[in-house]
Symmetry: C2
Subunit: 367 residues, 2 copies
């Protein structure tokens, strides 16, 4: 078994675990910085290591388009390409269905779209999706899913689930044949409990190595998201890892950990950072408009990240105002560290049996 | 004396020296990465240190506008602001006269312009220029100069020299009173030998700590630049450091070192890098169009910079294509290292008495 649960919280559904891969282990709850195209925006792999990152996630569809799986296969995969020796997850590309720039048309065969670089027509099938992730050398691959928009009607949600199940069957057979080390299914179903339950149960038949929860945090209300999570997570097998896709704010992370989620990813911390919004132990703030933005203090006085021990808020404010890349980089390092550290503290609290009080304390402080 | 000449080449005018400041020494010939607004674009101070940077240059006029000298004086100067503990040069702002975005009108009082951030009218005098550099905590300040365009008529060049001399008198008196550690004059005169000679001799009366050569590498031909350098450098005092402003390509650096130049600065290596043009031991190339751009080899197989020992050309090509900031950063680190290393090798060659053959070998290789 790759995934071992070390401790389960008594007052909540939170658990602490370890996931083993050929590129080393990572501890759960885990937060994954997003390296869509083979780099976490503005940040180097050394900086990721310094902040204690154990696992990152890249995107198979993006890497399929550029640099292409042939290139990655020939040169030794993504780990070698980007010089990252720790575990790599890859998302399948199903999420890109709701991204306008891809302009994807779905058929039962797969995703049809025009390559926005070469202009060529492309068909991205569940099988090809696995081949790409094999070439990438992904430690944990996602099966291709059909991700409907958050406001999709029930008929559309049903259709997406049927397709996701059909694609999962084709994908996992192909992926197992290719020898991909770990394959996760992606559960769809919007905010409808019966659909989530049906999708989760159907996908269990394929004996995946883990369960990603897709189609959330894509425009529905946070209350609706937390509600469906609370109701649907119990329908996932206890012993398998659960990965909530696209969630990266402090409050939702803590709430989702309490509901039994093990793994997270989100571009949110780095996106915010590039626009000058910083995480801090007393809540989020935008540096550009902050009173005291020119003070000779760190971004967060309680933070020990490599940025806060060295640089002042005044300097980073200056860099952001001048649109200097170093500003976006320092802000990104701080925000990523903040979230990674929050998740590490949550893990310690689960192991110590103090998760619930830790969560309450954090919620008050970060409110 | 802050500046000591350790060795003079026998076949050329090249010399090797040491310059002492309160923030440590730097060796000459020296190349200074450009940190106009308090950061070398895309690069951190740790990265500058790793590549062996001994001295950088910032811009007084830019820092006057933002974050402002009051802020820098209050918080301990630029060294502390940007976390750089080694020597800092500051250019005065005279060069910005030929930059259209500043839209500067010159009077004998100083530079008149509209602050493009606040919209306020500003008068930047030779005295204020020194006050700004004092607040910055500059180790080596430049006097305000009147820098005419490369195609200026002789009458305009004469007027600019007269103003530069008048401003130098006002500036150096004020700067000495403020206790600025080292003050350099800037010699103007376009490509006219009689004017360069007149300006250099007039500025010697102020007993500056060094001589910057301004008004070159601003649009005139390279031949015209090298010719006027060859003829005018002998009119500068032997014992004082000579700083050629704005030159940063391999060939011109080597030629200018041979003519007795000690110090250089240029944004050229980082500008080129951001557009995908890389320096290498067999000449310059643009990575985007290169055959073999996707090869699993370093940017330069003979380079031992922190980028070349780790990352492939294929990865950096991918990052530049995807407009990922990490690509511009890795390319900038490599280009800066390449130039710093070339200048370090030139220095060793001067000390070993082999500069002329080193120069010839480099010129053949880099052609």
């Amino acid at each position: 078994m790759s995934f071992t649960i070390e401790a389960a919280d008594k007052q909540t559904q939170a658990r602490a675990g370890i996931f083993k891969t050929a590129h080393g282990i990572f501890h759960t709850p885990a937060f994954m910085p997003v390296a869509t195209k083979g780099t976490v925006k503005t940040v180097s792999v050394e900086e990721l290591e310094t902040m204690g990152t154990e696992v990152i996630i890249a995107n198979a569809l993006h890497l399929h388009i550029r640099p292409g799986e042939d290139h990655l296969a020939r040169t030794g995969g993504l780990h070698k390409f980007m010089c990252w020796n720790k575990p790599i997850f890859t998302d399948s590309g199903g999420f890109q269905i709701i991204r306008k720039n891809f302009n994807i048309r779905i058929t039962d065969s797969g995703l049809n779209f025009k390559d926005f670089i070469s202009g060529a027509h492309r068909l991205y099938t569940p099988e090809l999706c696995m081949e790409v992730q094999k070439a990438i050398g992904s430690d944990i691959a996602m099966l291709l899913d059909d991700c409907p928009r958050h406001d999709a009607k029930k008929r559309k949600l049903v259709e997406a689930i049927e397709r996701t199940i059909g694609w999962a069957k084709r994908g996992i057979e192909h992926g197992r044949g290719l020898g991909i080390p770990h394959i996760f299914v992606i559960v769809q179903g919007g905010t409808e409990l019966d659909l989530r339950q049906w999708c989760a149960e159907a996908l269990q038949n394929f004996k995946p190595d883990g369960y990603a929860i897709g189609g959330l945090s894509i425009g529905e209300s946070k209350e609706a998201m937390m509600k469906i999570l609370e109701l649907s997570v119990p329908h996932l097998p206890q012993e398998k890892p659960r990965y909530l896709m696209g969630v990266g704010s402090s409050k939702e992370l803590l709430n989702a950990i309490a509901l039994g989620i093990d793994i997270f990813d989100s571009a949110f911390p780095t996106q915010l950072a590039r626009h000058g919004t910083l995480f801090s132990s007393s809540g989020r703030y935008n540096l550009k408009g902050l009173a005291g933005k020119k003070e000779n203090v760190p971004l967060d006085e309680n933070c020990d990240c490599e940025v806060c021990v060295k640089y002042s808020r005044a300097y980073i404010h200056h860099l952001l105002k001048e649109k200097e890349m170093l500003g976006m980089r320092l802000a990104s390092i701080h925000n990523l560290y903040f979230i990674l550290n929050l998740v590490r503290k949550a893990r310690s609290a689960i192991l110590n049996g103090t998760f619930n009080s830790f969560k309450k304390e954090m919620e008050e402080r970060l409110a």
